[in-house]
Every structure is written in structure tokens, then in C-alpha cells.
């Protein structure tokens, strides 16, 4: 069965967020680069966005670096290279393949690093977004009929970039005022990037904020510290979007079941990508909160990686049908499609999204 397309992606996504009738569910996907490399050897000729039928378009990426453009190699060996990046982090990366880097050092090892060096640098610099790039992306989005969004990082993610995981979480308990200062400052910088784009003629349909808050067993910092120290800036970002008639989409990996109600209270409209292996499940969430929060994602890439067609069909069918029951659901996998998924298997997934994703 083919996808029945009678709306633009922009109309479809907007109606999905408002729980209005749609022709079919909106869709998008994320891939590891190594996956695309594999698929090109297996016959993929199109842009993967074309294969999926992407309905979304990012206009910018707001990531306020204290050291824009910095990319200094500090050491290397046969397999890895260690670099100081635009955040001021020192990370060790694979040379010839993708993967999460090893974090070696962070720019704010002490509170003084933040107040004396990093914060003044951040406040002195201009916007971190590319206006020309946003203009180009907006033209593309309008031509393709895609739902376009201002995109940036949220505060917990940026704080971890600056302080590192350990210092961030220790400061949450021992020096919350410091944490709040970092959080407020970084949130202000992202919102000022968005203001800059809007003031220069960029029109967006929504705001999409990225930040990995959780791991497989729950929130990294736990719900009480989240509510006290991070949530106020999440609410502020969502309110900023709503004040400009834009819905707010939030991306986080991991198990965030314990703070779903907090997200709704903060004004989040959509949650993505709902990592299945961390216990996120739209089959449970849609009946529970689907009238107040829309979802994009949750189809388990670990099941795709089995290349077992029966298991994959059950996964995609059951998640899409649960999502469609509220009209507030879009297709995406639950993470990024890994290279263990064959091109043939992924084409089968897209066929399933065609088959089960229509509303009539």
C-alpha cells in the first residue's frame, strides 16, 4: 500500500500537533553516517530523506560556542585523534568511523572558569546561528512543503558540555546557584539566536530543542533536581515559542517516563524520539497522555537490527496504530538507524510506514 498524500508536510505536522485529521502520519528519520555508507554499497541511490518522505526541515542550529571555529588537534594515534573543540572540550574521536567520543577535559573545571573566562566570552560574542543558511533552508522548506523549525540545544545538555557530567551533577547538589547561572545564561543565548533570526525575516512553524536528559534507567540528575534547576528554563523556552504562536518539540534519549507530566506542565507539545530500550512506549503513553502530548518516534532500531521481518512489522504496526489513536503521532525510529540494519530491511520499514501510516 502506498502513502496517501493529500497534504503538505507542513499541514500534516501542524494538524498532528493540534490532533486534527491528517491524510497520513508525518515522518522523518535519523541515520548514522556509517549506515548510509553501508546502504550506498547495497544499492541506495536517493537521498535518505526522499526514501523516508521527510516532512520536517531544520532552519538553524543554535549551539552557543565559547570558542567558535576552534578545532585544535592535541594528540593522535593510529586510530584516534584528540581535539579541543569549539566548546573548549577536549575529546578523543575515532579517525575512520563514527562513535561517541571519550571526554578528556571540559572548559569549566572550576566555577571561576565559568565566571572569569567562559561566561564573558559567551556574552561578548554575536549570534551563533547562520542567517544565510536559515534563509536557504526556509526556501527549501517552503518549496518542499515541509514543517520548518528553529533548532537548538537545551540547557542541561549545554551545561554538561561546559562542566562535564560529574561536575554538573555535583554542582546541582552543592552549588545550585552556580548551575542556575550557567543554565539561565545558555538558555538566554539560544533564545537570542532565535530572536535574531526572526528579526531578520526568518519564519518558522515551530521550535525544536535537543538535549539528552536521561539514560536507560531514568533521568541522569533525577526528577527532584530536574524540577528545581532545569525545568524553569525548559518552561521558559516553551513559553517563548508559544508567545510567538509556535509549538515546542523536545528531543531526549533515555527513560523520561518519570517527568512526562513535568514536560506537559512546562508546555512541551511534542516529545521525540522515545527510546524503546529505555522503556519509552507509545502504546502505553498515548492512552495515558496522548491528548496532551504528541509523540514522534519509538520504533525500536534494535528490532530493525534483527532484520526479522515479522518482528519488525509487529513493532512498526503496533507503535503506529497506538500513535494514530490520538492523531498526535509521527514516525521516526527510537534513535538513529544503525549500520547493522540492511538497506533492504529499511526499505521494508518504509513500506510498513506506508501501509500502516494512512488515516483512511
Amino acid at each position: 500500500m502506498m502513502r496517501k498524500v493529500r497534504m503538505t508536510g507542513c499541514e500534516r505536522v501542524s494538524r498532528m500537533i493540534e490532533r486534527k485529521d491528517q491524510d497520513c502520519i508525518p515522518r522523518m528519520e535519523s541515520f548514522w553516517n556509517d549506515t548510509l555508507k553501508r546502504w550506498r554499497t547495497e544499492g541506495m541511490v536517493d537521498d535518505p530523506n526522499v526514501i523516508v518522505g521527510n516532512d520536517f526541515q531544520g532552519l538553524c542550529w543554535s549551539e552557543p560556542f565559547p570558542f567558535p571555529g576552534q578545532d585544535i588537534v592535541t594528540s593522535e594515534d593510529a586510530d584516534t585523534v584528540t581535539k579541543r573543540d569549539a566548546w573548549g572540550q577536549i575529546n578523543r574521536y575515532w579517525k575512520f568511523r563514527e562513535g561517541t567520543p571519550e571526554h578528556v577535559a571540559f572548559p569549566c573545571e572550576t566555577k571561576e572558569d565559568w565566571f572569569d573566562v567562559i561566561k564573558p566570552r559567551l556574552l561578548a560574542k554575536g549570534p551563533s546561528v547562520d542567517l544565510k543558511g536559515a534563509e536557504w533552508a526556509l526556501r527549501l522548506a517552503r518549496r518542499q512543503g515541509r514543517w520548518c523549525h528553529l533548532t537548538g540545544l537545551e540547557t542541561f545538555e549545554m551545561t554538561r558540555h561546559l562542566l562535564g557530567d560529574e561536575n554538573t551533577m555535583i554542582a546541582m547538589i552543592e552549588d545550585p546557584e552556580y548551575l542556575i547561572d550557567v543554565s539561565r545564561t545558555m538558555t538566554d543565548l539560544v533564545l537570542s539566536d532565535f530572536e535574531y533570526l526572526l528579526a531578520n525575516g526568518i519564519e518558522a512553524d515551530g521550535v525544536w530543542i535537543y538535549g539528552d536528559m536521561a539514560y536507560r534507567s531514568g533521568l541522569l540528575c533525577g526528577p527532584p533536581l530536574y524540577r528545581e534547576l532545569v525545568w524553569p528554563d525548559h518552561q521558559r523556552m516553551a513559553q517563548w515559542a508559544h508567545d510567538r504562536n509556535m509549538p515546542f518539540v523536545f528531543h531526549t534519549d533515555g527513560d523520561v517516563n518519570s517527568v512526562i507530566e513535568d514536560y506537559i506542565k512546562a508546555g512541551f507539545d511534542v516529545l521525540q524520539p522515545l527510546e524503546a530500550k529505555a522503556g519509552m512506549d507509545v502504546r502505553r503513553l498515548c492512552p495515558a497522555v496522548g491528548d496532551r502530548l504528541a509523540f514522534i518516534g519509538n520504533c525500536d532500531v534494535m528490532i530493525y537490527a534483527t532484520n526479522d521481518r515479522d518482528a519488525i512489522e509487529e513493532e512498526v504496526r503496533s507503535k503506529i496504530e497506538a500513535g494514530k489513536s490520538t492523531k498526535g503521532y509521527g514516525y521516526h525510529s527510537d534513535h538513529s538507524v544503525p549500520p547493522s540494519v540492511s538497506y533492504e530491511t529499511y526499505c521494508f520499514v518504509v513500506d510498513l510506514v506506508d501501509k500502516y501510516g494512512n488515516y483512511d
Partner: protein, 215 residues
């Protein structure tokens, strides 16, 4: 001298108090082994509350840091008294994976449970696990992986450890994509879903349930 205050300082992650109370206990002539047990009791409490979602990673981090503060003071006395951790654990992130947060948390909790922890770091090839296992003769070997693409490295590591005749050491695996089913499939002895569970799992594997190991 009552050691409950010291245990409380560990539970609440009060590093300064932990150091002061450790020194006070030493000065009062309390047996080093008893002091150590009170520290482990504090870490056990944090681990148990973590598993019940009463505390989270930040609380675990400050508790481990408080224990470290105490151990700096206590360790020379333990060494002098010939008291060493009964069990040794090797830990590392498997080859192809540079991720270290989960591995570091497990190492921290194992140290808190008084295991002698040898941390091999990230991107550890099977042959390094084999060599380190020969050198340190651990009872536990912990393998960590974040990425689905590096999960096969766990199997090759286990295969090489077994081929080298090192199957006496019990192998615990963990990481974001890891499941009990995968642990069974590749021949691991156990799966730990989080850092606190890793303590419980390791103790069970070595046949020790609690601080009684030091009694």
C-alpha cells in the same frame, strides 16, 4: 566511638565531615576494619536507595567522593594492618567504544563496595583484558558498551578470555543497548542494568552478600 555519624556523612555525600570523622575515629583508636565497614555501609545504603529511585546519579557521585576522601586517610592504615580488599574486579569499555560514563560509575560503586578495581579505560581490545586478567587474577570482569555496533566486541572479549583459560573470573556486562538476553547469548555470567545493581550482581557472583565480607 560511634561510627554512625561517619556512615551518615557518606550517605549524604558530606566530604568534609567524612574526612574529619575518619580522622577522629582513627585518633580514638577505632579498628581500621570497623571504620572501613562503616564507609561501606554508607555506600550500600546509597546503592539500595538508588535502586529504589530514592536517590540518583548526583547523590551517588557525592557519596563516592566522600568515601574517597575517607579512604585517602584510612588506606595507609589498612595496608599497614594487612587488610586488603578480598576481591579484585577488572573493568573496561570494550574495543571500538570510547564511552566511559557508565563504566566509571560502576568502577566507583565497586570501589565503594571495597572491591580492588583495576580500570582498563576505554577501547580495550580483548587481548588487553586477557593480559590484565592474567596479571591481576580478578574474580570479576566488567565489560561496558554504549553502542549497538560495539556489542560484538563483548562476545569476542568473552571468547578470548575463555580460550585463554580465564573462565574462573565471572563476567558482568552492561551499557545502554545491553540486555539479559544478550548476556545469555554471548556467554556472560551476568548483566547489570545500572551501577548500583552492578554491586549486587558482583557480590552475588563472588558469593558475598554484604559488608560481612570484611567481618
Amino acid at each position: 566511638m560511634e561510627l554512625t555519624q561517619l556512615t551518615e556523612a557518606i550517605k549524604t555525600g558530606n566530604r568534609k565531615a567524612a574526612g574529619l570523622l575518619t580522622q577522629e575515629a582513627i585518633d580514638a583508636g577505632v579498628e581500621p576494619k570497623a571504620i572501613l565497614n562503616s564507609l561501606i555501609e554508607g555506600m550500600d545504603d546509597i546503592g539500595a536507595r538508588f535502586q529504589k529511585n530514592e536517590v540518583f546519579v548526583p547523590e551517588m557521585l557525592i557519596a563516592a567522593r566522600a568515601m574517597k576522601e575517607s579512604m585517602v586517610i584510612l588506606e595507609p592504615l589498612l595496608v599497614a594492618a594487612g587488610i586488603r580488599p578480598e576481591f579484585t574486579a577488572l573493568i573496561g569499555t570494550v574495543q571500538g567504544d570510547l564511552h566511559d560514563i557508565g563504566k566509571n560509575l560502576v568502577a566507583m560503586m565497586w570501589k565503594g563496595a571495597n572491591f580492588n578495581v583495576i580500570d582498563l579505560g576505554t577501547n580495550v581490545p580483548p587481548e588487553r583484558f586477557v593480559a590484565a586478567a592474567r596479571e591481576h587474577n580478578p574474580q570479576i570482569i566488567g565489560l561496558s558498551a554504549l553502542l549497538t555496533t560495539t556489542m560484538p566486541s563483548m562476545k569476542s572479549t568473552i571468547d578470548e578470555l575463555k580460550a585463554a583459560g580465564l573462565s574462573n573470573a565471572k563476567i558482568v556486562i552492561g551499557g545502554a543497548p545491553i540486555t539479559q538476553a544478550f548476556a545469555n547469548q554471548i556467554g556472560a555470567d551476568a548483566f547489570a542494568p545500572d551501577a548500583a545493581s552492578a554491586v549486587e550482581v558482583a557480590r552475588k557472583l563472588v558469593g558475598s552478600q554484604s559488608t560481612a565480607v570484611l567481618a
